[in-house]
Symmetry: C2
């Protein structure tokens, strides 16, 4: 788990406590760097300490200081290393008789106890400086000490924490939070959000409006948590996004809205998803796609941590069709090549059965990707030296083989993967293989995706509708039903709606979707036509929104950035759980407090609900974790 963070660490530093402490020291000095970039906050205002442990330097020599922190390390009852959120500092334990009580406090306190010490900042003896440690020139000659709170024997050592299972980390999250990674991640998150607010609020006049989370079910809101109210049979829903509210705020003339919005989605157990998550939610009146894109490019540029390098703008842009054709996905990782190539024409006259089959169909294609130096990692199909290694090799005519090599620009040791079939399926398959191969190559030491590179991309011109998976004859919204159609395609709405492109845009970073939005429909009639006629939705649930559009709704559009995912990518954390203070497990549980939990039936009475306990048969059929009935 460490390895993911290491590439980001760019300065050496050593402390007396070995490798782990080095990492802590490095990170804390990074976190100091973070805060000092934007302003110089007073970190010791209003409290007992005069300074933080990590801020002391030679310039403080001779000063009387009071520090509060945790005992990170103790050596031979002579030195202590004291830690706070800002860093580490060495403390000299007094050895003379007159200070016996101070010595006793500092030597008896278990590791991770909290102490307050007062003393003088002194130079380390010549030769004992530690030039790689920010506080390495000085130490604290302690005069008084107080044990503020002792620490019981820990369930594990803090410094080894990251080697523990994630379940243990989550159970003792309050200890895990002391780790340098979590401190760094949470502080970086806070500062990025603060900069975003400054950009939106102070530079561009956005209004931070809080919208309700106790709301009404939205059509098709099967993933919305329900909250029973005190009115029998009536429920609130926790919204998946403030979509309706942000549009209503535009109708209300708010002009520019943003919110760091808590959103909810009940997807059951899914790895790397959280039942509650946060999005930077934005909506503007009188704006078009270009406007929203410039706004977001400026926002990310402004809020980007300085130690992550500058963000180049404008971000490149790609149509959905192009993304699918070249990368087999709507969220291409553009940090590396290996694009999909259509080689249908090369095989127009092939004798290979599955290629023939595929090409004989109206949508049939043959597609390929070239894996540079892929011979290292893959059983080879086609190599540039014509040493064909494939069961179908003998059926490939020499002309076609040469054509393929030419088209794919094959080099020795490269591997070409090809597939045949309908365009979308073929691309999608190769898109997945492309990422798998990249993983394989990187596992073998080939650097394809520079971890210091942040490759943003806009994907645009999505289809407005998709055929329903269960009933392909019917349409559903590709994103949501408030998305405006592309102006060039409006004429198709009544004739060939499936061909209409939308004004939706996605923001992709290193192959992950970090944002999405659209220009919305502001015409009530068009909105009603799409909901009722094309999507066959029950518009009763949305009557307030339709009505609002009728009362002078301005043209408007917006976007939402997934904050957890974004910060996860910025910090290089392995999981979004590492950028959330108290995340749920993949089963939606809080392993620290054991939520969700049983509730006595009498507490459900005011809400007019009761539990329908599943029968044993149902339990076996439906559930991996059988319910434990409370005593009843």
């Amino acid at each position: 788990m460490f390895s993911r963070w290491l590439p980001g660490l760019n300065r050496g530093l050593a402390t007396p406590t070995g490798r782990i402490a080095q990492l802590v020291g490095r990170s804390l000095s990074r976190s100091l760097q973070l805060s000092s970039r934007w302003s110089v906050p007073e970190l010791s205002s209003f409290v007992a300490r005069t300074n933080t442990c990590g801020e002391l330097r030679s310039s403080h020599l001779g000063q009387e200081v009071t520090l509060c922190g945790w005992i990170q390390y103790r050596r031979q009852n002579i030195f202590l290393v004291l830690r706070d959120f800002q860093g580490l500092v060495q403390v000299l334990i007094p050895q003379d008789e007159s200070a016996a009580s101070v010595k006793k406090i500092l030597c008896d306190a278990p590791m991770e106890s909290v102490v307050q010490v007062s003393g003088t900042v002194v130079s380390r003896p010549p030769g004992q400086e530690n030039p790689k440690m920010p506080t390495g020139d000085i130490e604290i000659k302690v005069k008084t000490a107080e044990l503020l709170n002792p620490c019981k024997k820990l369930p594990f050592e803090i410094k080894d924490f990251m080697k523990k299972t994630e379940a243990l980390r989550l159970q003792y999250r309050y200890l895990d939070l002391r780790s340098f990674q979590m401190q760094y991640n949470l502080r970086l998150r806070s500062q990025m959000v603060m900069k975003m607010r400054e950009y939106l609020c102070n530079l561009h006049g956005f209004v931070d409006v809080e919208t309700p989370t106790l709301f009404k079910r939205t059509p098709g809101g099967a993933k919305e948590f329900v909250i029973p109210s005190r009115e029998p049979g009536k429920f609130y829903s926790l919204p998946q996004s403030p979509q309706q509210f942000k549009q209503l705020l535009m109708v209300g003339g708010l002009d520019r809205y943003f919110q760091v919005a808590r959103c909810y989605r009940d997807e059951g157990s899914r790895p790397d998803r959280q039942p509650e998550f946060t999005q930077i939610d934005i909506e503007m009146s009188f704006v078009d796609q270009t406007g929203i894109r410039s706004l977001i490019e400026g926002l990310l540029q402004y809020s980007w941590p300085s130690d992550k390098g500058p963000v180049g703008v404008p971000f490149p842009s790609m149509t959905f069709a192009e993304a699918l054709a070249s990368y087999g996905t709507d969220k291409p990782d553009t940090r590396f090549g290996m694009k999909i190539v259509d080689i249908s024409d090369v095989f127009r006259n092939t004798e290979v059965g599955f290629l023939q089959d595929a090409l004989s169909k109206p949508q049939g294609t043959v597609k390929a990707i070239r894996i540079p130096e892929g011979a290292e990692v893959l059983p080879v199909f086609l190599k540039a030296n014509r040493n064909w290694n494939s069961p179908v090799a003998k059926l490939v005519m020499e002309e076609q083989g040469l054509g393929l090599i030419r088209r794919m620009e094959n080099q020795e040791e490269d591997v070409v993967l090809l597939t045949a079939g309908e365009h979308k399926r073929a691309c999608s398959l190769l898109g997945k293989l492309r990422l798998e191969c990249a993983d394989l190559l990187e596992a073998r030491g080939v650097l394809l995706r520079d971890p210091a590179l942040f490759s943003f991309l806009w994907v645009v011109d999505f289809p407005l509708f998709l055929p329903k998976e269960e009933k392909p004859g019917e349409l559903e919204s590709a994103h949501h039903p408030f998305t405006a159609p592309h102006p060039s395609d409006i004429h198709l709405l009544h004739t060939e709606p499936e061909k209409v492109r939308s004004q939706h845009y996605d923001l992709v970073l290193n192959g992950s979707e970090v944002g999405g939005g659209s220009i919305r429909i502001h015409d009530a009639q068009l909105q009603r036509y799409i909901l009722e006629t094309l999507l066959k939705e029950d518009v009763k649930l949305l009557s307030h929104l339709l009505q609002a559009l009728d009362y002078g709704a301005p043209p408007h559009g917006g976007i939402a950035l997934g904050l957890d995912r974004l910060v996860c990518l910025v910090t290089g954390a392995p999981s979004i759980r590492d950028v959330i203070a108290f995340p749920k497990s993949f089963r939606g549980q809080d392993l620290m407090s054991d939520a969700p939990d049983f509730i006595p039936p009498e507490d459900l009475k005011p809400y007019h609900i009761q539990v329908s306990w599943p029968t044993d048969a149902e339990t076996e059929k439906n559930s991996l974790n059988p319910p434990h009935h409370p005593e009843s």
Copy 2:
């Protein structure tokens, strides 16, 4: 409803549209003032307009501008007044033949339609300037116009909206939001919060941490909404505050935490309460009461809107005992006097029966308040001219009468109200009468409470425990069980716990509680003793917190400010619903979308719950609004 806002308006301004528009104009110029105080945001970046309607001045003369806005008013097809969030501007409708199409667009569009116009900023003809309107020197000579969205016939006129019932305002909230009051309130709220964030994050190094809202029930959490999970019988709860999380963050070494936190409380129907509300939630390590108080005084001073006058610090402070004795409440309105006076000694030898009775009891007291000029509004009991007007007058001896007059410093026309009984009850009664009398006096035109005055007060030294209302032999926490006892009273914890004062503090503004907090218990043993032995709570629900305190928890404390209430007092709004974009009605309903709503039984299945429909008898007994069963 207007009257509450009027005293705050401090600049004259007139527009062509009469009194209501004057108010709109005034407010919008106030809102402009607000934003320009803190920075000069670019309000027209990224969008179709070049300028906002409200910002145009003589300095823009000759400029070609494009504006987007709502048609506020049209006069004789010659003038339009166009409105956006920033203000109003006069638009000249072109009258020449060549611009017939522009004229048609602008003259045909119904009021509140959204239009985009382009044209030149020109001077108004001499004599037609409106010096009281910010844009009153200029007007727009329009060249092109586009109807962006027409407005249907409104259910009421926007300008009259505030005269409508609140239910109608909430049903059409998106229209209500266009009113100057709502724009002003929401923008002021956004800007105050932004300043608070700057103060906490940029000036004092606080970390903004988002804590979960899907959590576990807290002990005694009867007011917590429950959310069924997909595990049969298990529920999340929506927390009333991030109390546990903020303390765990301190254990985790975060040092300084804040969050603008959404909180939830299910109190059924209560006027001026919302089921979801927002608090500025703060926690610090190594801090004492003085530290928190200075922090908050600085915070309010820094974030206070400039048009509301400066905030004087430090705020005065009063013990709970003093507040009760002098004001009969724990949240005294210190903008005016009329304090409670103990006059027990005056009546030590009284012959008045109920006074005799009261004073003969161990806790018996006689208390009084003097209502200056109260004779105007009250049936008089005792007047300075000795014209006793009371059924007990004949029993009051002259000496006592004189003593009373002297003690209360009675003037002619003053009224003294007195009561006798146990100290707390007597004070509490007079405290309520004090506020009632203030209302009566002000209704008669006597200015007691200056609406421009903001009178902050700390109330401290609350009792740590109170006797349980149902079982007076048992104790419950006066605030919450994590509150630390007062250091001077710790020795009483094992002997007379009911006498222990706490380290809780409340912040009171103009007689409303706007914040509260405490220094917390960081000693696991003390916390366990209070929970188990004194409060008889089930500590299982809190085992994670108790365990955390054992692992090197730093001393810590914090506070939460009620943002809705605070902004309500700052803006002078009649209700917290006027500072929330989409509030619930007092019955917890969203009148716009009709939430909460019925949900089909199949959507409840994944959550293993079903509705327990009340029988008709129960319905009659328990409910004011009988449930309407959905078709079933």
